[in-house]
Amino acid sequence: MALHSSRETEQRRQLEARSRRRGGSPDTAEADGTALGATVAQAIDLTKTYGDKDAVVTALDHVNVEFKRGQMTAIMGPSGSGKSTLMHCMAGLDTPTSGKVIVESLEVSSMSQKELTKLRREQIGFIFQSFNLVPTLTAEENILLPLQIAKKSIDRAWFDRVVDVVGLRSRLTHRPSQLSGGQQQRVACARALMARPSVVFADEPTGNLDSKSSSEVLGFLKSSVSQYGQTIVMVTHDPRAASYADRVLVLADGNVTRDMQHPSYDEILAVFSDDDSAPDDGNASGDEVLS
């Protein structure tokens, strides 16, 4: 049901965004022909259960969802709603109990370790809540690490641009322990974007940051979407962070209960005050919004 409703709205957005192109720099648009608004990642009938026969916990209950190119999607929901599980399954960190995960037309859910490594090198970027950086490497080395691991050539122009956007030029030779939490997360963002992955998964990227640092990081993520057509999927429980997103998915008890396009901060807040007071009627209110 959620799938159907979201598909209509997405088609609209696709038309709007057709003229834009995904690519590194706006002036030399990449000629891979991948249209913005096309589906980058998709979950089909995704179910994830934990535990054995006696005590089954359903984290995801037949979830269908698509993520479009050039969009920043926030996944929200209370603890235990399955938002992290959804992201982990999408990113190939967790294997679903049933259903499929498809990223860039590749079926992630059935991949071997080797294929997953290739996927992570070529299609996926990660930003975690904490411990994003290898402590023995400098900021610059951390940013370049994914490319070096994948033995790819380094695009210096792109590196300079990313570094300037995150404002870390003066900090490149510092070790993570010499950087503030906000700076560390910006390095992590720069690293995630450096390889220009199809999709960046961010797991509570601002969870450990103060509000000023949070808005810097989110602002940077947002601009990478708007300027370079980067696709970002972000799990957060912070409505302020979610308000930066183009689209907000709300999960509860393993189901997508709402799918909001460009919601304002107040709208998100409103949803959660509802959810908090009556979490059980999440489905009903979700239909209301989508219709």
Binding site: S84, H88, L93, D94, Q113, K114, T117, R120, R121, G125, F126, F128, Q129, S130, F131, N132, L133, V134, P135, T136, L137, E141, L145, P146, Q148, I149, A150, R191, D203, E204, G207
Partner: protein, 875 residues
């Protein structure tokens, strides 16, 4: 709390496996070394009990100092054999006799070859039904009568594959003879591989007399008491009998009776003392194993404590005191120590059993008990438990004192700076190098190095040893400070081939410098010992080869039993008769010679003057050695002359029991070939030592010009064939014989090296396992951003290899340097040529890389087993 500790110990058991193995190895070495020593002692006691089985011995009443050797045994003045009759007529005496034994026999087996022993002698003993040997019982046939019959100990018969009635050859000191096996007897215990041959007592006496300076005296008269009807007397009866005999002995006999027990204790003590060096050697490796063991335990507990931090925090928050938390960890350490020690006791016991079995396989059966005593078991348990407590103390303290909140914290506290250790270790190393420099200077320049005579006369072994100890400990102390620099240098090579993983590995090493350095230390010590001995062994081989190539003029060398036996005079004469032989120079060893009333560490040799013309012309000589020998003067090695303070023209009083002569120092040679020897002419030698007692150790054979060497060699071999154990070698064979002797010794060392490498591998595995457990999230992160499994494995393999190469490099450096210093010190005593076995050292380096790669496999598997999600998930 104890219950919690025990429960945790059970749940952590798989974690403890490596610690248990390490403790078991260390304790195993300790127990093994004790058991081995006790087995040898026991064997010696048994042999003494059966081979010296008389109730009372009569011997000289005055101890004669024994050549200043370290043996605890004194030599007493000889007594007249005529006392035998006086003693045997006393009441309570069943029989009194002089037991004659003949050494240097060669028994030929059924296959026509000499029966080989491993270092053990072939001994002939006078034995007959009239003069039986209490510990031997005749099982077949009869005792020998006459020179053409022999009886064999059952072990000798089995080795030679001879039966009663068989004909074979026995080489007596005066030549070979065809003999018949008349009987086989059995002794109550094994003789550690010695071949015992029963000879007719008159034959034994005749052979023994022929070799004696004075056939009318002996060292001991064995007295058997009659009190128990022929069986052994107890201690009280022995001393009663000894008193009886003493009362009857006139003072003029200069003899005294002592109990059999006293003699046996003295004898076995002196043998035990001479075997005492074995245990410390084994204990060195025990110490390495225990050092690594305590270190592994510390690492293991650090891991366990890190993982159980939340549990401890919970215990603390429900009111447990830090002491109680400490106790839960310590209980686990004690359990671990006890389990490891018990395993180690079994291991050590098994090792000794295996050694005993191996010895009997190669022909040295031992019947000594190899079972550990209660004392050994208690020592082993104490060592094991102490080592594991020592290892667990710091992590336990950490567990009990860490604030509960820190439980969640992944970050490892930054290390204390290593500057203090760098300074301390640096100073020790500099002092150590200073000691070595001083050692070399002392060896180069015996006189006048310092104004102090005591310092100049100091044995260079002291500064050498102190220097080595300072350097080894110094490097262990210093090494954490070296880690950063060394890992940068070592890391540059893998970083070329593996830019990312190489860089990560290099930086990871420098994270916990102490841990890296301690892990490397295990390998360091083992490699240092082996590379030091490798340099010495290789130098020894090169020195011999150098002498043979550059100085040896004679074409052939003949030796008996690989240089350890005696060549009969008849064999020397036989060789002289071979066609094409120009001269035969037989070097004869003279024993118990004193100079100006003092014994000397140098060996006294008598030889023909052809030694200096046909065999070896010394290069650096004061005086003319050939002329000196012809003039009945002494030729002295430079180092010996220095020791005694002799100069050319000095007249020295040379004395033995037999005679005293005055000899002039005629020549001094600094040539290493002659180091530590004093060479005198035959005329004077015959005055000092009866010719029968001059033992020919080697003969050098020079051929006439133009002789067909191949034919001469064939003839020589044929000439010595009847003597069975004499081998004739040409120069190349001589060189390879010496080097294979050196190689055999090195083989034992390599076995010990292999063990220390196994221990070092455990250390590296454990250190990496700890490091991987601390870096779970980091490795998860690396994998999340696309690091393949192979890359993670590669990173850990590079880390492990760098640790082992680090340890190996310092070990090679210190060990080889020690070898070089030893070579310099002993250069004047024959270790002339320095030879560094580069190939071998390079093999060690490659082996280190292999060891590292091997050691990284288990931790890598463990690191990769953790799902990426578990590692990176924030909750």
């Amino acid at each position: 709390m104890i219950k919690i500790g025990l429960r945790e110990a059970r749940s952590h058991f798989s974690r403890f496996v490596m610690s248990i193995i390490a403790i078991a190895l260390g304790v195993g070495f300790v127990v093994g070394s004790f058991c081995f020593r006790e087995m040898l002692n026991n064997q010696v006691d048994q042999m003494m009990a059966s081979n010296m089985d008389a109730d009372v011995y009569v011997r000289g009443d005055k101890a004669v100092s024994d050549d200043g050797s370290s043996s605890s045994q004194n030599t007493y003045n000889d007594i007249s054999i005529s006392l035998t009759d006086d003693v045997s007529s006393l009441s309570g005496v069943k029989s009194a006799k002089v037991t004659y034994s003949v050494s240097g026999l060669v028994l030929v087996g059924k296959d026509g070859n000499a029966v080989a022993t491993v270092g053990a002698p072939t001994l002939g003993i006078g034995i007959s039904s009239a003069e039986p040997w209490r510990s031997a019982s005749l099982t077949q046939g009869s005792y020998a009568s006459g020179k053409d019959e022999i009886a064999l100990d059952s072990y000798a018969a089995q080795k030679a594959d001879l039966k009663v009635g068989d004909q074979t050859t026995l080489v007596y000191p005066d030549g070979p003879r065809t003999v018949k096996v008349s009987g086989i007897f059995h002794t109550s215990n094994s003789q550690a591989g010695a071949l015992i041959i029963g000879l007719d007592p008159t034959v034994a006496k005749a052979s023994s007399d022929a070799l004696a300076e004075d056939p009318n005296v002996t060292q001991y008269i064995a007295v058997y008491g009659s009190a128990n009807g022929g069986t052994a007397l107890d201690a009280a009866q022995q001393s009663a009998l000894a008193d009886t005999i003493n009362n009857s002995l006139p003072a003029s006999s200069k003899a005294r009776a002592v109990t059999g027990d006293t003699i046996r204790d003295e004898q076995s003590q002196s043998v035990k003392d001479s075997l005492g060096f074995i245990q410390p050697l084994i204990l060195i490796f025990a110490i390495i194993a225990l050092f690594v063991g305590s270190f592994i335990i510390a690492n293991t507990f650090s891991m366990i404590v890190r993982e159980s931090m939340r549990g401890y925090a919970l215990l603390r928050s429900v009111g447990a005191s830090p002491g109680q938390v400490f106790a839960t960890v310590i209980v686990q350490a004690i359990v671990l120590g006890i389990v490891g020690s018990l395993a180690g006791i079994g291991l050590g016991w098994g090792m000794v059993k295996l050694i005993a079995e191996g010895m009997s396989q190669i022909g040295s059966p031992l019947t000594g008990s190899s079972n550990p005593t209660w004392r050994d078991v208690i020592i082993a348990l104490l060592v094991g438990v102490c080592v594991s407590l020592f290892g667990a103390a710091l992590p336990a303290k950490h567990a009990s004192l860490a604030p509960p909140l820190q439980a969640m914290n992944e970050t490892v506290n930054p290390e204390k700076p290593t500057r203090l250790r760098a300074m301390l270790g640096g100073i020790m190393c500099i002092l150590g190098i200073g000691c070595w420099v001083f050692t070399v200077m002392l060896a180069d320049n015996k006189d006048g190095l310092t104004p102090w005579k005591t310092v100049n006369d100091m044995n260079s072994g002291w500064p050498l040893g102190v220097g080595a100890a300072l350097l080894v400990i110094g490097f262990i102390v210093l090494s954490p400070a070296l880690v950063t620099g060394v890992s940068r240098v070592l890391g540059s090579l893998p970083s070329v081939f593996f830019p990312v993983t190489g860089k990560l590995a290099t930086r990871n090493l420098a994270r916990s410098k102490r841990r890296t350095a301690n892990t490397a230390a295990a390998l360091f010590v083992g490699i240092a010992i082996v590379s030091c001995l490798g340099v010495v062994a290789s130098s020894a081989k090169a020195s011999v080869a150098g002498i043979v190539d550059n100085g040896l003029k004679s074409e052939f060398v003949a030796m008996a039993s690989g240089g350890m036996g005696v060549i009969p005079d008849a064999a020397v004469d036989a060789v002289k008769g071979v066609d094409g032989v120009k001269s035969v120079t037989a070097n004869k060893l003279l024993q118990h010679v004193e100079y100006d009333g003092k014994s000397s560490t140098a060996s006294t040799v008598t030889t023909d003057s052809s030694l200096f013309t046909d065999v070896f012309t010394p290069a650096n000589t004061e005086g003319d050695p050939t002329k000196a020998l012809k003039n009945n003067e002494m030729v002295v090695a430079k180092n010996t002359a220095d020791d005694h303070g002799w100069a050319i023209g000095d007249r020295i009083e040379v004395s033995t029991d037999l005679a005293t002569v005055k000899l002039t120092v005629g020549a001094i040679t600094s040539d290493a070939t002659f180091s530590s020897s004093i060479i005198i002419g035959h005329t004077e030698a015959d005055k000092l030592v009866v010719p029968q007692m001059q033992r020919t150790t080697a003969m050098y054979i020079s051929t006439t010009k133009g002789a067909d060497l191949a034919k001469v060699k064939k003839d020589l071999i044929a000439a010595v064939k009847p003597y069975y154990v004499i081998s004739v070698m040409d120069r190349d064979e001589f060189k390879s014989t010496i080097s294979s002797m050196v190689d055999q010794i090195m083989l034992i060392l390599y076995a010990l090296l292999a063990l220390s490498i196994v221990i070092a591998i455990f250390g590296i595995v454990n250190t990496l396992a700890l490091s991987v457990s601390e870096r779970t999230r980091e490795i998860g992160l690396l994998r999340a951003i696309g690091t393949g499994k192979g890359q993670v494995r590669g990173m850990l393999a590079i880390e492990a290899s760098m640790i082992s190469v680090f340890g190996t490099l310092i070990g090679l450096l210190v060990g080889s340097a020690a070898g070089v210093v030893i070579q310099k010190v002993y250069a004047s005593q024959g270790l002339e040529t320095l030879s560094v076995p580069w190939g071998q050292l390079i093999v060690f380096l490659f082996m280190a890389i292999l060891v590292g790669v091997l050691a990284s496999l288990p931790p890598a598997r463990r690191a990769l087993k953790v799902p990426v999600l578990d590692a990176v998930a924030s909750e």
